[in-house]
């Protein structure tokens, strides 16, 4: 690693060229330089959010294939009276022009909907409006005909005859293609040009999705600079230098470019969840860059004579390992999301993992490169440690005095949060994501009101018999079921093959009203369908007539209300005769299903995140109990998040479901920082209570600054127009602020009485130069093996004058002198006899390991650092690293032999 970073800082121009090249490639993937178009697309499709194998999704896909694309756009024309020449002309113009738009399958409105009319001369199969009439009688006759038609009244014309619906059906292409074609804008332009004096409202799934993308892009344009500004302010306050602000910001922006460039290269569009990655990467990446810059300033301050490259090298060497470790823990949170059954969340997890990797690489390579190239700063950052340090000291004292109180307080909070968490509702309402005064929401609500429902779904009835739905009894079943459906307050209207066949029947019977009924015989029904069949019927009846589709227009969007409605429908369908099964499907139902999957996926993600992080902590602390103590405060953070979710009434939705695992991954970093520092200080002072406070003072400042930076970033997301982004911003900031509070109060309390050896210790363990050749017990061992032995033991600092061993005492351990000097002596009647002086590398008190009495006193002459190795340690070493242990025992044997020889020599 040393050589690597020496290369980075020593050949900074070359590194800069390489990294510029990489960035250039990423930019090339992101932007089409010829057109200036941004190549990374957003796919707002909700269908693909569900797992491919999901039964509901498969059935929905089947229904969509059988009965056509249900993703329609609806243009509602509102006038004082629709049945005037002017109003109808507006509808006619719009219908004609919208039908010519590329990608439009067909357009249906009152002017081109087919009316089957019978007379004594025959059957007239014509559109309602062949030519727009202008005499009042003809208009009145048209009004009566339309409002008398059960298929179109309420669907194409509102029951108050003031609003006309123009339904646009599209070819079956993806949402992404719909956006790329610019179809929505074209439709909007036509509506603007042809609306005349009428009020026109546009809504429908495709339109809402386009709006989502537009809002998302607008959001990026506004939120990203705001986040950078907020982070910049925190940096300015923290470092108070230009480079302290510019370099970290530049680093996170370039890391983001790398991440997005990779996504664009994979031709993976962003979805509704991964579109959160760019702002999050800016927020999360900053702490890595801050650590490097902070360490750089420390290096410059400590070694004013060092060059820029040397200072950068020193800084990156110091931060590399902890930075990688914290990146791994953060990544663990995202890795848990990558395992989600929901494609969009899984993609978010993967992209965020890539982002974390990019941020780490940028902080470790780009930032030191830039620091090396810049001249040494004239002033190092002035950090205002005074108030913070004082506050940390006060807090440390408070923690010490109130350990029990703190534990009880958090226990209470845990119970309260758990209670609030039980109120969490799973949900999502795509229209509620937009501002209340936005066009997309206003138009949706207007259509919902004027046409009694703008949220369509399907109920598909299946029979096991061919031609079942040309049987009058089954057609009557449909008819009765529709009557029941339309009695439900959430339903504005329904359409099925029963409506069509009634109209055909009436048409074939001279338009006599009594024939607006289900045919009496099977043969008549079959013959009417045979000759009266139209393209429209494809959307309601399959070729074998075993599947009948009822299109339902709901006037509600809220998941809970829709869910309640679906439950009622399902209960009603239990009354169907044997052989006929009904299934509710469509976009609202998929959204409900998605919510259920989010709920299940959230549990999986949280459990996975906790498991991953616990595993990392075990590896890190080399002890499962310590790992559990470190995990506990962070688990509390997760419970707090769900409590906040429940208390605030925000639903667990696609966006908010990422917060829990992500917060856990971020929060654990601070806990690790504290634990590491606490352990070091506990060893240094041999006093856990003191270490509790000193560790808080030491890590309080960086932890607080990075928390402020991250919370500021999250807070900036609350400026979004999209509700989910606001929710992520607010809940993310609150949760991470709480995590900070836990880390400065509960974590220290939990740490008290703890002595831990961490992986960090093993990596930073100072055994001095060339331990294998300078420490006799380590002879023949590699550097790693030396560390294994040291980790099994414990390091002690011994001040001069301290007695290490007392002759005659029961020995239980031996000591290896890492540095310093000790002296072995025995007390004789004639006085103290010094046996020998020992220094680095020597082994002292070997007999102790064999439970023998000490034969001599050992005193510390110069401050010493010794490795204490007990019999238990040796057994542990033998079981874990038998080969290493064998070499250590061999060395011990040689040492004892030498000692024996030496003593014998002295005695003779």
């Amino acid at each position: 690693m040393d050589q690597l970073f020496r290369f980075v800082t020593g050949r900074a121009w070359l590194m800069l060229a390489i990294l510029t090249g990489v960035t250039g490639l990423a930019v090339d993937q992101l932007v089409d330089f010829e057109t200036g178009r941004f190549l990374l697309e957003i796919d707002p499709s909700e269908n693909r959010l569900l797992p491919e194998g999901d039964e509901s999704k498969q059935f929905y896909d089947f229904v969509r294939k059988a009965f056509g694309n249900d993703e329609t756009m609806l243009v509602a024309v509102r006038t004082d009276d629709l049945f005037t020449a002017e109003s109808l002309s507006t509808v006619e113009r719009l219908t004609t022009r919208l039908g010519l738009v590329d990608g439009v399958h067909h357009v249906t409105s009152i002017v081109n909907a087919i009316d089957i009319r019978g007379s004594e001369f025959g059957i007239d199969v014509e559109p309602f409006v062949r030519e727009v009439p202008d005499d009042p009688e003809a208009l009145e006759e048209l009004r009566q005909r339309v409002l008398d038609n059960p298929v179109f009244a309420g669907n194409l014309v509102s029951n108050d005859a003031r609003t006309a619906a123009i339904i646009i059906q599209f070819l079956d292409f993806s949402d992404r293609e719909f956006i790329n074609r610019g179809t929505d804008a074209e439709i909007q332009a036509i509506v603007d040009a042809e609306r005349g004096g009428a009020e026109v409202f546009i809504t429908g799934g495709p339109h809402i999705k386009v709006a989502q993308v537009q809002y998302q892009l607008a959001d990026w344009k506004r939120a990203m600079p705001l986040i950078l500004l907020g982070l910049g302010l925190v940096l300015a306050f923290s470092f108070r230098t230009v480079r302290g602000v510019v370099l970290p910001l530049l680093t996170i922006v370039i890391a983001l470019v790398w991440t997005m460039g990779l996504a664009a290269w994979q031709e993976e569009p962003l979805n509704l969840v991964t579109s959160l990655v760019p702002p999050l990467m800016l927020i999360l990446g900053l702490s890595y860059a801050v650590h490097v810059v902070s360490e750089y300033y420390d290096s410059v301050r400590e070694n004013p004579d060092a060059s820029s490259a040397e200072a950068a090298h020193h800084a990156v060497m110091l931060v590399a390992q902890p930075l990688i470790l914290t990146a791994i823990t953060t990544a663990a949170g995202f890795l848990a999301l990558a395992l989600s059954p929901i494609g969009a969340i899984s993609e978010f997890g993967v992209l965020a993992l890539i982002g974390i990797t990019a941020s780490t690489l940028a902080s470790l390579f780009l930032l030191p490169t830039l620091l090396s190239l810049l001249p040494l700063p004239r002033r190092t950052s002035q950090t205002d440690t005074g108030p913070l340090a004082r506050a940390a000291r006060v807090l440390g004292d408070f923690n010490l005095r109130n350990r029990t109180l703190i534990l009880w307080a958090y226990a209470g909070l845990f119970v309260a949060a758990l209670g609030a968490a039980s109120q969490v509702e799973v949900g999502g309402n795509s229209i509620a994501a937009f501002p209340a005064d936005s066009n997309v929401r206003v138009h949706f609500n207007a259509v919902n009101e004027y046409l009694e429902g703008a949220n369509p779904f399907n109920i598909v009835l299946r029979s096991d018999k061919e031609n079942a739905f040309q049987e009058p009894e089954n057609l009557r079943l449909l008819e009765e079921f529709q009557v029941w459906l339309e009695d439900q307050p959430e339903i504005g209207g329904t359409t099925s093959v029963a409506d069509f066949i009634k109209l055909i029947n009436r048409g074939f019977h001279e338009n006599r009203p009594e024939y607006l009924a289900i045919p009496e015989t099977r043969r008549l029904a079959a013959q009417l369908l045979f000759f009266g069949s139209s393209e429209d019927l494809l959307g309601f009846l399959d070729g074998r007539r075993q599947l009948a589709n009822i299109r339902v227009r709901a006037n509600v969007m809220d998941r809970t209300i829709v869910s309640d409605l679906v439950n009622r429908i399902n209960a009603r369908m239990q009354d169907f005769p044997e052989g006929i099964v009904g299934t509710v499907t469509g976009n609202p139902i998929l959204k409900n299903r998605l919510a259920e999957t989010i709920s299940r996926g959230q549990a999986l993600s949280m459990f996975s995140a906790l498991a991953f992080i616990y595993a990392i902590l075990i590896v890190f602390f080399l002890d499962w109990r310590t790992a559990l103590r470190a995990l506990l405060p962070n688990a509390l953070v997760v419970v707090f998040f769900f409590g906040a979710l429940g208390a605030s009434g925000v639903t667990l939705n696609l966006a908010t479901s990422i917060i829990g695992p992500m917060a856990l991954g971020i929060a654990i970093d601070d806990t690790i920082h504290y634990f590491v520092r606490f352990t070091q200080d506990a060893k240094r002072y041999a006093d856990e209570r003191r270490a509790m406070g000193s560790a808080l003072i030491a890590v309080g400042r960086p932890v607080t600054y990075t928390t402020i930076a991250i919370c500021t970033g999250f807070f900036m997301l609350t400026t979004s127009d999209l509700t989910p982004q606001v929710q992520v911003g607010a809940l993310g900031a609150v949760t991470l602020a709480f995590a900070w509070l836990v880390d400065v109060t509960l974590t220290p309390v939990l740490c008290s009485g703890l002595r831990v050896v961490t992986l960090w210790d093993s990596l930073t363990l100072d055994l001095g130069e060339d331990p294998a050749n300078t420490i006799e017990l380590f002879k023949g061992l590699s550097k790693t093996q030396c560390r294994w032995v040291a980790l099994m033991a414990s390091m002690r600092q011994l001040p001069a004058g301290q007695r290490l061993m007392q002759a005659g005492e029961q020995g239980r351990e031996l000591y290896v002198i890492i540095d310093g000097t000790v002296e072995a002596s025995v007390d004789r009647p004639e006085g103290r006899l010094v046996l020998r002086r020992q220094g680095r590398g020597d082994t002292v008190g070997v007999v102790g390991i064999f439970n023998r009495l000490r034969s001599a006193n050992v005193d510390v002459i110069e401050d010493a650092r010794v490795l204490r190795l007990t019999q238990k340690n040796m057994q542990r070493l033998a079981s874990r690293y038998p080969r290493t242990a064998a070499q250590v025992f061999r060395n011990l044997g040689e040492h004892v032999a030498e000692l024996l020889s030496d003593t014998t020599e002295k005695l003779t």
């Binding site: 089947f62 294939k65 059988a66 009965f67 056509g68 010519l100 590329d102 399958h105 067909h106 087919i114 009316d115 089957i116 019978g118 001369f121 025959g122 059957i123 007239d124 199969v125 014509e126 559109p127 070819l171 079956d172 031609n467 040309q470 074939f508 019977h509 045919p519 015989t521 099977r522 043969r523 008549l524 079959a526 013959q527 009417l528 369908l529 045979f530 000759f531 069949s533 139209s534 393209e535 429209d536 019927l537 494809l538 399959d542 070729g543 074998r544 007539r545 075993q546």
Partner: protein, 290 residues
């Protein structure tokens, strides 16, 4: 290279294509002798230059007076569901007005047995159409342009059916560059229906086999460059009967609705002599073929 656009006013044009395609019968503007394969392609192939010559080629490959055939329609929905209907199709050109009539009598499915459909060609505009349904026991005239849907549950609209059966569809034609279709060299003719036809199509393109004068493919465009429907004839299933070439297996695909209909023609008889009365409205309720 695009051939200049000679406009052919055409009552007969589309008719001729459709006749050959369906293996049905055709009008003959004059009283020429029945076209023989030997006579038509030998004299035409390779020397056709104008659109009229292509149309003549097609026109001559047609029954002189009448035809009968059994047709089975297998309509497939979007999910592969199949619905079969079977009918006897009778066609005759009336000497009195030189206009044609086409009668379908359905034998399958059982529920529609006895149903009949009669199309009567008009001098101008679209043909008159009549339905007879046994359950209502009345003959009904169908008017209006709304029949652009799925006639008999197949992928043929009233207009497609009329074109397939060679009934008058006014429009203007032009030659497009020759091509190869299903491995066979073809002449390509494009027709734009006239306004009075009230067609749902903007244009229809025919690919005529240069060897047999059978139309191997018909593309119907509503707008733009993507056809809405394509009717193809299997060139390996061409049949010669009474000196006329027939396509006996066809496939109508609705590209927009993603449905298709297979058409299989059997028992073709040409110029056996059908009485005019068979095609009278008053006899639609009679379940007879002759």
């Amino acid at each position: 290279m695009r051939i200049p656009r000679p406009i052919a006013p055409l009552p007969a044009t589309l008719l001729a294509f459709a006749l050959v395609l369906s293996g049905s019968w055709a009008s003959r503007a004059d009283s020429e002798a029945p076209a023989s394969v030997d006579a038509v392609p030998a004299g035409v192939v390779g020397v056709v230059g104008s659109v009229d010559e292509v149309l003549d080629c097609v026109k001559l490959n047609a029954p002189t007076e009448s035809s009968e055939q059994l047709v089975e329609f297998s309509a497939f929905d979007r999910i592969g569901g199949k619905r079969v209907s079977r009918a006897k199709i009778l066609g005759k050109r009336f000497e009195s007005d030189s206009l044609r009539r086409v009668l379908l009598r359905f034998t399958k499915p059982l529920e529609v047995r006895g149903s009949a459909f009669l199309a009567i060609e008009q001098d101008t505009g679209s043909p008159d159409m009549f339905l007879y349904t046994p359950e209502i026991r009345k003959t009904k005239r169908v008017t209006g342009q709304g029949g652009g849907g799925k006639l008999f549950g197949t992928d043929f609209s009233y207009e497609d059916f009329a074109r397939w059966q060679g009934l008058n569809q006014p429009g203007a034609s032009e030659r497009l560059p020759d091509a190869v279709e299903a491995g066979k060299p073809v002449w390509v003719v494009q027709t734009r229906p006239a306004a009075e036809a009230e067609s749902s199509y903007d244009r229809v393109v025919f690919f005529v086999d240069r060897e047999t004068c059978v139309t191997l493919k018909t593309e119907s465009y509503e707008r733009g460059d993507e056809p809405r429907k394509i009717l193809t004839a299997d060139p390996g299933q061409l049949l010669e009967e009474g000196g006329v070439w027939f396509a006996t297996e066809l496939l109508m695909r609705d590209l927009r609705d993603e449905t298709h209909t297979q058409v299989v023609i059997e028992d073709v008889e040409v110029d056996r002599g059908l009485k005019d009365s068979v095609f009278s409205l008053s006899k639609l309720d009679r379940n007879r073929g002759r």
